[in-house]
Structure formats: structure tokens, C-alpha cells
Symmetry: C2
Subunit: 140 residues, 2 copies
């Protein structure tokens, strides 16, 4: 349902949010989030292209958030690496349906819409402030 890439990207930005605004190296993030380093590198390049993170080479470089955790939502991250495929027209391309979906696809898209909305309404800052005994990415 959610791709591995989305899962990895979310872990990475949460890690960055926790340490914001200090940049973290790809290796550090990979170790903390239990993601293969080389693959995470690709995922982060994707996030950079979409303006989610900043990548800085050289000594003292690393990865940092392009926006503050207050201004970055789960949806921003999801959309950057693996957008939610909303159903906007009839998948069977039936002329009579067009943009007015049938009951089946209407309900499927409603589910996607609800997910999209829920993700749009949650910022990274809210994730960290959540009164939850389990802290994201932390074992204590």
C-alpha cells in the first residue's frame, strides 16, 4: 500500500526533524532509520529535487530540511516520492463516466482522498509533539 521508498523517506525526514536544524549525513540517517545507505542516498536525491531537503557536499555537509518541521507535512513527503494516485477519471475510459465516477471508483477515490487529507493535516512538528510514549525512530 505504502511503498518501501515512502516509508524510508518518512523515516529520513522525521530523523531530520528531530535533529533540526542541524544537518545529518546520509550515513547517520541510514544507521538511525535502519535503511540501506546506498538506497537512502537515492531517496534523498529525489527529496532534494522536490525541494524537501537540502544536500550539502564536503566536510561538515549532509542533509537538512528545506523547510521547518512546522511547514512540512506528511503529504509533502509522500507526494515527493510516491504520490497518492487519486482516481480522477474512469479507469475503463467509459465515455459515459468520464469525470463522474461510478459508485465503485467513487468509493475507492474517497478512501484515497481521506488519506490525502489526513496526511495534509499533519506536520512533522506535530508528529514530534505527539503525546505518545513511543518516540519516532527512538527506542527509549
Amino acid at each position: 500500500m505504502f511503498s518501501q521508498t515512502v516509508e524510508y523517506a518518512l523515516r529520513a525526514v522525521v530523523h531530520l526533524a528531530i535533529h533540526s536544524p542541524r544537518p545529518q549525513t546520509t550515513s547517520e540517517i541510514a544507521a538511525a532509520t535502519q535503511v540501506p545507505t546506498a538506497y537512502l542516498s537515492k531517496v534523498l536525491q529525489g527529496l532534494r529535487e522536490k525541494g524537501i531537503v537540502l544536500l550539502q557536499r564536503g566536510v561538515g555537509g549532509g542533509v537538512s530540511l528545506a523547510r521547518s518541521p512546522q511547514q512540512l507535512t506528511i503529504l509533502d513527503v509522500v507526494s515527493a516520492v510516491d504520490p497518492i494516485p487519486r482516481i480522477t477519471t474512469c479507469p475503463l475510459d467509459l465515455k459515459a463516466h468520464g469525470v463522474r465516477l461510478c459508485a465503485l471508483h467513487r468509493r475507492m477515490d474517497d478512501a484515497l482522498l481521506h488519506m490525502e487529507t489526513a496526511f495534509r493535516e499533519t506536520t512533522l512538528a506535530e508528529l514530534l509533539e505527539d503525546p505518545n510514549p513511543s518516540v519516532p525512530l527512538c527506542d527509549r
Copy 2:
């Protein structure tokens, strides 16, 4: 988000519900739902193994619903071919999290739960009764 297989399976059972209780051949369903015949055959075999449809060989045979459209939900079909992967334990296997998910995975699973619930509450019969000008799988 939804696999092709789920989309195909849903089209097939909707077609069967429309013509219920008359059995339809795989070829008929494939033509009506615009699904590759050979692949649909595999999908239907999966649905049979999960008790969603009945398959009858020989002349006059074909595919029919194992339950009435009133007793078959979208979730039944989705679960049969590609179950919604609820997040029940911490994907990072953090000991401190265990079953108590962190804010991130809590929200991801909440989205999956909502989808599951919505699909559980809709039967095939309700899809067909929906006062929607676009009739599922029909162009008129």
C-alpha cells in the same frame, strides 16, 4: 496504491453482481471489464481459493459469486487478492515501540484502518443500488 490485481478483481465481481446469479464465462467478464483474459483467469482462481467466486468447467459453466451481493463487501474482495497491509508493530522493530506505534506509524495505520472500515461497510449490492448516473462497468 491499489494494485492492478485488486482493480481487476473488483471489476470482475461487480460484473458478476450485475448479472447475478447467472454465471459468466471468463471471456465474457474480460471483455466487459477490459481486463486481459489470461490474467483475469489467474485473478479469478485466486478469488475462488478464497471462497469469493465459484468456477464451473465445461459447457454452460463459468464464474459466479459464492455469496449474494448483499453478503459480499468490497473488503472481502480486496482482502482476498491483496490484503490491506495494516501496521501492527513497529517497522523498525524497536523494542520500546512494539505494538504501541509511534506518532508516524500510528497515523499511517489510522489511514489504513479508515480505508479498511470504509470498504467493510460497502456491499456489492449497495454499489449497484447507488443513485449514481454512472453505472459500474456500463457506458450507458
